[in-house]
Amino acid sequence: MIELRDIRKSFDGVEVLKGISMTFEPGKTNLIIGQSGSGKTVLLKCLLGLHQPDGGTMLFNNRAFGEMDDDEQRTLRREMGMVFQGSALFDSMTVLENVMFPMQMLTKQSETAIRKAAEEVIERVNLVESNHKLPAELSGGMQKRVAIARAIVMKPKYLFCDEPNSGLDPKTAIVIDNLVREITQENNITTVINSHDMNSVMEIGDTILFLKNGVKAWKGSKELIFKTDNKAICDFVYSSNLMKKVKEMYQ
């Protein structure tokens, strides 16, 4: 479980996060949604330790990140998996090497054991036939699946995804969303997904945090999102004609 208490972050005097409090539960897909510039990525980078919050507390299973020493933070980072928006696969490595990489760097397991673990997760994301391909030879959806495999190979307690289905067609996007949800449930991972895709919201939004101008403007789930009369979230959700039609049909 991740608990955020009054998280604040500024850049050059501009306050990007203005006191965010939230709880992300394990075994659930927790979505952070909002317009571009609302502070989603900054919040995710704070969770990953890439940005240091100016104020507030982040608790990972009741352990405060800010009170950990370097070794404890490093240990915590090994419990995290991250799927970047652009996949961030290492260009010079094959699919198998990319997935083996975190284990090679961070564990003392034998090469055989590492290969076996990597092959298992590659099989889990249905990419066995692409084991020896380079990232450049893969489609966007396949790259995302490799990124997911690399993120889960260390059996993380926390999984973070930054817009995992951006740039993908709707069908592939659903495959990726479902894969993330299944992995989250199978391994009881606390998953936090940054998204502005309403399809993802409707597909996997167990818990939803809506940010607007760095403030928590709404919190709920995919079931509640159509029932709320919160103006901020309604403006965001029903900004497209498709969603307006869906709302009409729903009502």
Binding site: G49, R74, R77, F84, A88, D91, P102, M105, L106
Partner: protein, 245 residues
């Protein structure tokens, strides 16, 4: 102020290179890869340029000797001194700032743009050590490249002198042996090692801390080349003053 900020950030980066090291087995693989890319990959251009520039130096020297009082072995002597003292260690390193430096900046810069460096950091890996340390280690082999450059530069001078009919083979060989100071070679290698450190770290700094997209990667490579050249030239002046004056 901006320059001071960069100098400070550069030295902070250098400190990070040597802490939290990457696993030895992985590092060994990275070092071999960088030796291949930075050192072995540069041998062709270094050899080609050295041979022809050595030839030009000897032709220019021979053509400027008009007085019959000046011995013909001066062509060999001048070629040796020019190549060993300046051309091979300094100007070859500036040429390598273009080749090796832009390769380092663009490869690390691309990793920054595509979030690969963030991915390393999230995994708890010291990305500065992972990316920069193998480059520093592999560039320690640069004196070997400069040694080859010295040999081929003098060989080019010898060939040009001989086939251009500017001097006899005996005169040239006598010239390259005349008043030979072994310390001059040591001086060349000492400054090559310093330049190697500059060649590995300044382009790495510009790649690692770059911001933006693909266009900025190109700009960062250009800026890295300019600063690497400037630092090499300034260092060359001080090292020469310290060791030879």
């Amino acid at each position: 102020m901006k320059l001071l900020h960069h100098i400070g950030a550069y030295f902070i980066m250098l400190r990070l290179v040597f802490i939290k090291p990457t696993k030895a087995k992985v590092m060994q693989k990275l070092i071999f890869q960088d030796v291949q890319d930075l050192i072995i990959g540069s041998l062709g251009i270094v050899g080609f340029l050295s041979f022809f520039v050595g030839g030009v130096v000897s032709i220019q020297t021979a053509l400027n000797i008009e007085s019959p009082l000046i011995p013909k072995n001066l062509v060999g002597f001048a070629t040796r001194q020019s190549v060993i003292l300046e051309f091979a260690p300094t100007f070859m390193c500036i040429i390598l700032a273009g080749k090796v430096g832009s390769f380092i900046t663009s490869s690390i810069g691309t990793m920054r743009v595509t979030e690969q460096i963030d991915a390393l950091e999230v995994m708890g890996i010291n990305s500065v050590n992972y990316l920069v340390f193998p480059k520093i280690v592999s560039m320690i082999l640069l004196p070997l490249v400069i040694n080859i450059s010295m040999f081929l530069g003098i060989l080019g001078g010898y060939a040009a002198t001989l086939y251009g009919g500017f001097s006899s083979s005996a005169d040239f060989i006598e010239g390259i042996q005349m008043d030979f100071e072994p310390f001059h070679v040591a001086y060349a290698f000492i400054k090559t090692l310093l330049f190697a450190m500059v060649l590995a770290t300044i382009p790495s700094y510009h790649g690692y801390f770059m911001k933006g997209g693909a266009l900025e990667v190109g700009k960062a490579a250009t800026v890295a080349f300019v600063w690497t050249s400037v630092v090499i030239i300034v260092l060359n002046y001080f090292v020469t003053q310290l060791l030879l004056a």
